[in-house]
């Protein structure tokens, strides 16, 4: 059941600077560029890197720092994403944006890139870390985070949701569909699938 054969599920590749790019910005979800995020032989020094320290005592740094090899540290993921919006709003052609982290993180980055006018060819993403999923309840639109099982209780409406492989990049989430809609109460046992 872990591969339902649905083709909207994203595929990922290790990150390498795209040759046509003028400048390469890599944003990651943790304090360092995670092992396995970059293609073999690619150095983090090829990118301007934004990291997340997950602590408060981090001094500010300019949003438009451009040099490859520069590292800017943020206090939290929302802190980084907010700065990314500002940065992309001021960018010129030729920027390539890369993201490495969990699936909700990289597709939140993609959403910000798309809103700023970057096309899919100007972005690249690596999925590293937990396989846990963000689930969008198609019935009540609530989001349930960090789901590792085949069936989960919706955080919004309480329905028992089957986790479909159907993935929306816009919502950065997989679809959850009530598993016992036809015969209420007929809920199969949940399996641990996405650890």
């Amino acid at each position: 059941m872990s591969d339902q054969g649905i083709k909207s599920r994203p595929k990922y590749q290790p990150i390498a600077p795209e040759p046509a790019g003028r400048h390469h910005l890599l944003v990651v979800e943790g304090a360092e560029v995670p092992g396995g995020a970059l293609a073999e032989g690619v150095s983090p020094a090829a990118f301007e890197v934004w990291t997340v320290a997950h602590r408060s005592a981090v001094p500010g740094a300019p949003v438009m720092e451009e040099a490859a090899g520069a590292v800017r540290t943020f206090r939290s993921v929302p802190h980084l994403l907010g700065a990314l919006q500002e940065r992309l709003a001021r960018e010129r052609m030729g920027l390539r944006l890369y993201g490495a982290g969990t699936e909700p993180f990289v597709w939140d980055v993609f959403g910000i890139a798309q809103a700023a006018g970057l096309g899919r060819q100007e972005t690249g993403f690596a999925h590293v870390g937990t396989q846990a999923r963000r689930i969008f309840c198609v019935h009540c639109r609530a989001v349930t985070e960090n789901v590792s099982t085949s069936i989960v209780t919706c955080s919004g409406c309480g329905a028992s949701l089957f986790v479909r492989d159907h993935f929306s990049r816009r919502l950065a989430a997989f679809m959850g569909v009530q598993v016992d809609a036809e015969v209420p109460g007929e809920v199969p046992e949940a399996e641990e699938l996405y650890a």
Partner: protein
């Protein structure tokens, strides 16, 4: 022939929807052969065809007024069933123009469009509407142009933007759908929004269909038929409301199967739009009960054979497992094994007695 609209028929709760004999015979029956498998079954959308449903650019039938009322109800309950991304405004106007001009040309007794430069006046007699507006100025309409005109058409519509060698579903009016969600799928590429469909990816159907559609020319629309089955004549079988309509599936019995189970056909049409270069995708839904299909000898034989021999993955994807066997058992006594003619035409202009 003059259409007699049935404005009070319902597609939920009381389910008073019913078809006249003419309406049964004009049904776009979806199976040209005795077996069914996914294919790129696309043909030019030209007038004339095996049934009367193919005689207009946008087909209007006796359910027009009631379907527009049902759509208004769905939108009142869930406005997100109509969404268009902001970069698609030119495609919105293209859609309004295409539908208004087509309806006025195909049904002059019901719709009139008059133009004085950019000042247009639209008259929709079945719905009792008259609207003057300036083409290209959204503030002169009571709602955005795509929503304005698709509230006055039968069937769902989506808008596909063409860029990056792909098609993106960047808008839609989706209230009569066979279990897919615009709110979830909006913004997806062609292969992404078809992601859940089984078998067809492996057969290369979507690769070929995408290539074909990217070359679609303005003024040369195409069409195909798709199908599923629905319990009760319910138009809104959305994923959003699955907890509301899902229990219907468990109410089918051998006694009520012929009246309850409906063959749901989508007459899908695709139009290249002139200003935006977007593609308008029409998904016109027709519902006919197994009992009504059984009144046409060719159709009842063929439906029996198609369902009996259907691929297991398609049975699952279309949500048929709970009642498919009951439909087969109901139709089997009426299938005498006689060969059927190719194509979807009913091969009769009268109906057998109900059975």
């Amino acid at each position: 022939m003059t259409l007699q609209f049935k404005p009070s028929e319902t597609f939920r709760d009381t389910f008073t929807y019913a078809k006249t004999a003419e309406d049964i015979l004009r049904f776009p029956f979806p199976f040209p052969e005795d077996e069914y498998m996914y294919s790129v079954n696309i043909e030019p959308h030209v007038k004339g065809g095996p049934t009367a449903a193919f005689q207009a650019v946008f087909d209007i039938d006796e359910h027009y007024v009631a379907e527009c009322r049902e759509r208004a109800k769905v939108l009142a309950e869930d406005p997100k069933r109509c969404q268009v991304l902001p970069h698609m405004m030119a495609a919105e106007w293209d859609t309004l123009e295409l539908i208004m001009e087509s309806l006025a040309a195909d049904y002059p007794e019901h719709f009139t469009l008059t133009k004085a430069g950019d000042l247009w006046t639209w008259v929709n007699r079945p719905l009792g509407l008259q609207q003057s507006f300036t083409f290209g100025k959204a503030e002169t309409l009571p709602c955005p142009p795509f929503e304005f005109i698709t509230r006055q058409a039968q069937g769902d519509f989506t808008l596909q933007d063409q860029r990056e060698d792909n098609l993106f579903v960047d808008g839609g009016m989706v209230t009569t759908q066979a279990d897919w969600s615009l709110e979830f799928d909006i913004g997806m590429t062609f292969h992404e929004w078809h992601g859940p469909v089984p078998l067809a990816h492996e057969k290369g159907v979507f690769d070929r269909a995408l290539k074909y559609l990217m070359r679609l020319q303005c003024g040369q629309p195409v069409r195909r038929l798709n199908w599923t089955m629905t319990v009760n004549p319910r138009l809104d079988t959305s994923p959003e409301n699955y907890p509301v309509w899902g229990p219907d599936k468990a109410t089918v019995t051998p006694e009520n199967v012929a009246e309850k189970v409906h063959l749901r056909v989508e007459l899908q049409t695709l139009f290249r739009l002139p200003r935006s270069n977007a593609i308008l995708f029409g998904i016109r839904c027709y519902l006919t009960s197994v009992a009504d299909i059984a009144r046409v000898p060719k159709w009842r034989r063929r439906l029996h054979r198609v369902l009996r021999d259907l691929h297991p993955d398609i049975i699952g994807y279309k949500g048929l497992p709970r009642y498919r066997q009951m439909v087969i058992d109901h139709l089997a006594p009426f299938d005498d094994g006689v060969p059927t003619s190719r194509g979807i035409a009913p091969d009769t202009d009268t109906l057998d007695a109900a059975r």
